[in-house]
């Protein structure tokens, strides 16, 4: 019989030597290649490197005392630096860029024994919610290849949904892990800002960017997150605290009401907003399940959360406009073939190297930081960001987690919102607040819409309280099977 293709299941099989890492990695590589024409989930597939790592993992496993994730195939979003492999950010600007070093989270996962099979497709520089903004073409949703997989970690979400890898990293700046997780029917966690180092994550919006994990279930997310998290002296925003132990609550014995005592906050604002009936119905059913497991729902208010989208779309582009200045054609990356002078070099290089969404955000960001507009936009948005954080702090004093839909609707059809960036931005309405506040949040599969597309429920928690989020998700997943559904054609 085939071993389960989860991190926990495969890890156990590898440690028990029922399967070798080479076998698991070969299966992963074969599935990636087979799915590539339909999904385009990968930018780079590293057969040689992956198999070399797998052989090394098998040696370690044979010796015993191998790290917990030894030999488990994994994919990294192509915004994370991987030494010796291309790291393109799905941009023409870095189409040929080979990273000279590993991102901190990449190094940690390497140290934990994972074998890296490749780099996943994404929205260019992680800017987008549909994975349509990639220099390497859009990614298909495994549930329906004509639908978007969500973004910006669309390649990672599709790869996990199609069982190409048991887990993949993502990065979440405004929902880029959770939104594609919801749309592809997988579990995705954005941990607390500062838990995982940003060193080696190509910055989009530094005060929002958070490395995260996409996997089939909460248990796998916890295993991978524990390996990724940790203080890094090279990131001044990395938090120096005791090692994360996200799996600790998962190991508790589970009674009939494992969530007894858990207070689940339901913000009125999340259920009044324009959510599709299918999404509303699925989330209501999931809440009923959580109550059945012992959770207690309480009504809460987040009066300023309605401003989250405009605040986010002022601040994130502001930071992006500055962060992306280093891509100037001088030291690395794309450089225009011909130019008249220095200004012309900059203009042509950046005009050619960046796609339209990246340019749009650089322009917005430059505008809101400009003399005469700074106070009205950037400064005001920072003030509102603090108010939103206060709202969440007050709410989380009355409850342990905040629940609601991850997205207002399931995946839309490819190409339908490209011309309407505002509609695209509004799809991030439930996810951006966790990035404005730095709070951890997880999206878990909780049903399907009438078209058979997955729906996600989001749980947000207190700073550094990933364990509670993951436990709630894990108990829910022990009682449901939404996360076990595999898109047709991708069964093993």
């Amino acid at each position: 019989m085939t071993e389960p293709f989860t991190v926990a299941g495969l890890g156990a099989a590898l440690h028990a030597r029922r399967i070798s890492s080479v076998e698991a990695t070969q299966e992963s590589l074969a599935r990636i290649e087979a799915a590539q024409p339909a999904l385009n989930a990968f930018v780079t597939i590293d057969h040689e490197g992956a198999l070399a790592a797998a052989r090394a993992a098998d040696v370690t496993l044979a010796r015993g005392a191998a790290p917990p994730l030894a030999g488990v195939p994994i994919a990294h979003k192509d915004v994370l630096m991987t030494a010796g492999l291309p790291t393109t950010c799905a941009s023409r600007m870095l189409a040929d860029y080979v990273a000279p070093y590993d991102a901190h989270v990449v190094a940690r996962l390497r140290d934990a024994g994972t074998t890296l099979v490749g780099k996943t497709n994404m929205d260019e520089f992680a800017m987008g919610s549909s994975n349509e903004n990639s220099h390497f073409g859009p990614v298909g949703n495994p549930w329906n290849a004509a639908r978007i997989p969500g973004g910006s970690s669309g390649g990672s979400a599709a790869a996990v949904a199609a069982r190409l890898v048991p887990a993949a990293t993502g990065t979440d700046t405004g929902g880029s892990v959770r939104q594609p997780a919801a749309m592809c029917g997988v579990t995705g966690i954005k941990p607390t800002y500062g838990l995982c180092s940003r060193y080696g994550l190509v910055a989009f919006a530094s005060s929002f960017d958070t490395p995260g994990v996409l996997a089939q279930n909460a248990e796998d997310c916890a295993l991978v997150l524990d390996a990724m998290a940790g203080h890094d002296a090279r990131d001044a925003t990395s938090v120096d605290r005791a090692p994360a132990d996200c799996t600790r609550l998962l190991r508790r014995g589970a009674g009939a009401r494992p969530l007894a005592g858990l207070r689940i906050g339901l913000p009125r604002e999340y259920f009044d907003a324009g959510v599709t009936p299918d999404v509303a119905k699925a989330v209501e059913a999931a809440l009923a399940e959580l109550r059945a497991l012992g959770g207690e729902t309480v009504a809460i208010e987040l009066p300023t959360v309605g401003h989250a989208i405009p605040v986010y779309y002022v601040l994130a582009p502001a930071e992006a406009s500055s962060n992306l200045s280093r891509f100037d054609g001088v030291r690395y990356g794309h450089r225009a073939a011909a130019y008249a002078d220095l200004d012309d070099l900059y203009c042509r290089t950046r005009a050619e190297g960046f796609g339209p969404e990246v340019k749009r955000r650089i322009l917005i960001g430059t505008y809101v930081l400009s003399r005469g507009y700074y106070d009205a936009y950037y400064l005001k948005a920072q003030q509102v960001r603090r108010l939103i954080a206060q709202d969440f702090a007050h709410a989380l004093a009355r409850c342990d987690v905040i629940a609601g839909p991850t997205t207002p609707a399931a995946a839309f059809a490819l190409g339908t919102r490209v011309a309407d960036p505002l509609a695209m931005y509004l799809g991030d309405i439930f996810t951006v607040a966790a990035n404005l506040t730095g709070l951890p949040a997880i999206s878990i599969p909780c049903g399907f819409d009438a078209d058979g597309l997955p729906i996600g429920m989001q749980l947000q928690g207190r700073h550094f309280d990933e364990a509670t989020l993951l436990d709630a998700a894990h108990r829910f997943q022990q009682a449901t099977d939404w996360h076990r559904r595999v898109p047709s054609g991708y069964e093993r």
Partner: protein
């Protein structure tokens, strides 16, 4: 004070100075790369300095501590929370496309620096001091062969060794009233930052760079429009440039024109300032708090640790030398030109047996006179001076007790200086005293070795009446013409005769005795 620096009657020159002080840390402001000067291009540029994708800045604690030391030493306010901000602009030697600086909330605000003025010391107010990183260098000519091969003869190269070097930008209030005063401020600030050990002060390597904001106004009028002058890489150029700029502005206004706010570049070759860019073309730097760096929090413990590590400050030393040593204010200013000089003086003074005003004055004169002259002549740093403070005190002790004359003391000093400089050890014992001024060590000798040298060089002062009489007689006999002049009433001739006797004694004769003997003999025989 330069005469040319005096503004025309009825006009007042107003100057504020912005100084970029390179902090003396081993590594850069936000990366671990070395700050060493003079390496081959880009050798001291790491991934962070190159702004590779994904890298992040981490503040250098040593740089922060140096900023704290400065803020405490000038009596400024240490802001318990300051903010690093990004100054955005595109330039090839600015790898990130922004410079990390501090903008709205600097680490230090306020404080004062005293400068030497006609009537003692004058206090200049400081606006702020903030931490930032330096840019790299664009090289348009003289590229290394390898680089030229890559970019061609017309190509430019970029050296990012300097990129990320920690700087403290120190901004003064517009409190300075002349070019000379501005130069005095710059010199004093330079001495101050090297005194407290936060900067190596090397002007040639760009460790201390000034920009001047210059405006003029009719006396009593509100402040005029200012121009900022850049590229002032010496104190002399700073003074000349401000002089030129003030004259230019006064002439412009007197001719009915008005000053345009702009940045001007000083051309030392032509001694003039030229417009570089006007306020209208000034870039919008889009400053905003750097999201990669949390606000810089400074706690009381840290402040106290830095405070206790500060040396005695130059103002305090000056005051002490004046009140406790009876040194003139002018001499105290000279002696505190650097911490090394002040320490040299204090060590020599401490080594004298008698701690009285006459002794301190003698040491001060020697440190500022013979010692400084020899040091300048041979270009040796104080901490490695061939004559250490203790042997100097030994020499001066023998002057005070009449063993040697002042001129013999100079001979002795120079003998010791030159012998040690040549590395010779004969004549007196040398050794090293660890811990004398900074990291250096210095040669010393014991007082017995100075005494031995006095004997071996035959420098003991001749006070024996018989020996002196013979010398005086010989000079009177040999210099009849001069004697005749003296007798004819030319008083100066007497001094010439004294000089001849001293010369005949090779400086060893006691000048007081020579004078008395000569006078008696000339009167007797007259």
């Amino acid at each position: 004070m330069s005469r040319a620096g005096q503004a025309r009657a009825g006009w007042e020159v107003v100057v504020g100075i912005e100084t970029h002080v390179q902090l003396s840390t081993a590594s850069k402001m936000f990366s671990g790369a070395s700050t060493a000067f003079g390496a081959a291009p880009n050798v001291n540029a790491c991934a962070v300095d190159l702004a590779l994708p994904g890298v992040l800045p981490v503040p250098n604690r040593g740089a922060i501590e140096r900023a704290l030391a400065f803020g405490l030493a000038i009596g400024g306010t240490i802001n318990r929370e300051s903010v690093f901000a990004r100054k955005n602009y595109f330039y090839p030697d600015l790898p990130k496309g922004y410079q990390i600086s501090q903008y709205e909330r600097p680490i230090v605000t306020g404080g004062t620096l005293s400068i030497a003025s006609d009537d003692g010391e004058r206090s200049i107010r400081l606006t702020r001091a903030h931490l930032e990183e330096d840019a790299g260098k664009s090289l348009h000519e003289g590229l290394p062969q390898e680089a030229e091969a890559a970019v061609g003869r017309d190509g430019s190269g970029i050296d990012l060794n300097r990129a990320g070097t920690p700087l403290l930008e120190i901004v003064s209030e517009p409190d300075l009233r002349s070019a000379a005063e501005a130069a005095a401020y710059a010199r004093r600030l330079h001495a101050f930052v090297t005194w407290i050990g936060i900067c190596d002060g090397n002007l040639q390597e760009g460790s201390f760079r000034c920009d001047a904001n210059v405006s003029v106004r009719r006396e009593g009028a509100p402040l005029g429009t200012r121009c900022e002058i850049k590229n002032l890489n010496s104190f002399r150029f700073l003074e000349l440039a401000i002089d030129y700029e003030a004259r230019r502005q006064i002439e412009l206004i007197e001719d009915g024109g008005s000053v345009r706010q702009e940045t001007r570049l000083y051309d030392a070759g032509r001694n003039e300032t030229r417009p570089m860019r006007s306020k209208e073309d000034a870039q919008d730097y889009r400053y905003f708090p750097d999201p990669d760096l949390p606000p810089l929090a400074i706690d009381e413990d840290w402040i106290e640790r830095v405070r206790t590590s500060l040396p005695e400050l130059p103002d305090a030393v000056r005051a002490r030398l004046v009140t406790e040593h009876g040194i003139t204010h002018y001499d105290a200013q000279q002696l505190t030109a650097s911490r090394e000089l002040a320490e040299y003086y204090e060590r020599a003074a401490a080594a004298l047996p008698a701690h009285d005003a006459a002794g301190f004055k003698l040491v001060a004169n020697w440190v500022l006179g013979e010692f400084s002259a020899a040091r300048n002549r041979d270009d040796v740093p104080i901490e490695r001076a061939p004559v250490a403070p203790a042997p100097l005190a030994d020499i001066l002790r023998r002057v005070t007790d009449g063993t040697i004359s002042a001129s013999a003391a100079k001979t002795l000093f120079n003998e010791m200086w030159n012998a040690a400089l040549r590395g010779a050890t004969e004549g007196y014992v040398t050794g090293t005293v660890p811990g004398l001024v900074g990291t250096g060590s210095a040669t010393v000798s014991t007082s017995s070795s100075v005494d031995a040298l006095i004997e071996s060089l035959g420098l003991r002062q001749v006070s024996d009446e018989g020996e002196l009489e013979a010398l005086v007689d010989a000079v009177i006999a040999a210099q009849s013409a001069v004697v005749a002049e003296f007798r004819a009433g030319r008083e100066k001739a007497f001094n010439a005769l004294v000089g001849q006797v001293m010369k005949a004694s090779r400086g060893k004769a006691n000048p007081g005795r020579v004078s008395a003997l000569l006078k008696a003999k000339l009167e007797r025989s007259g």
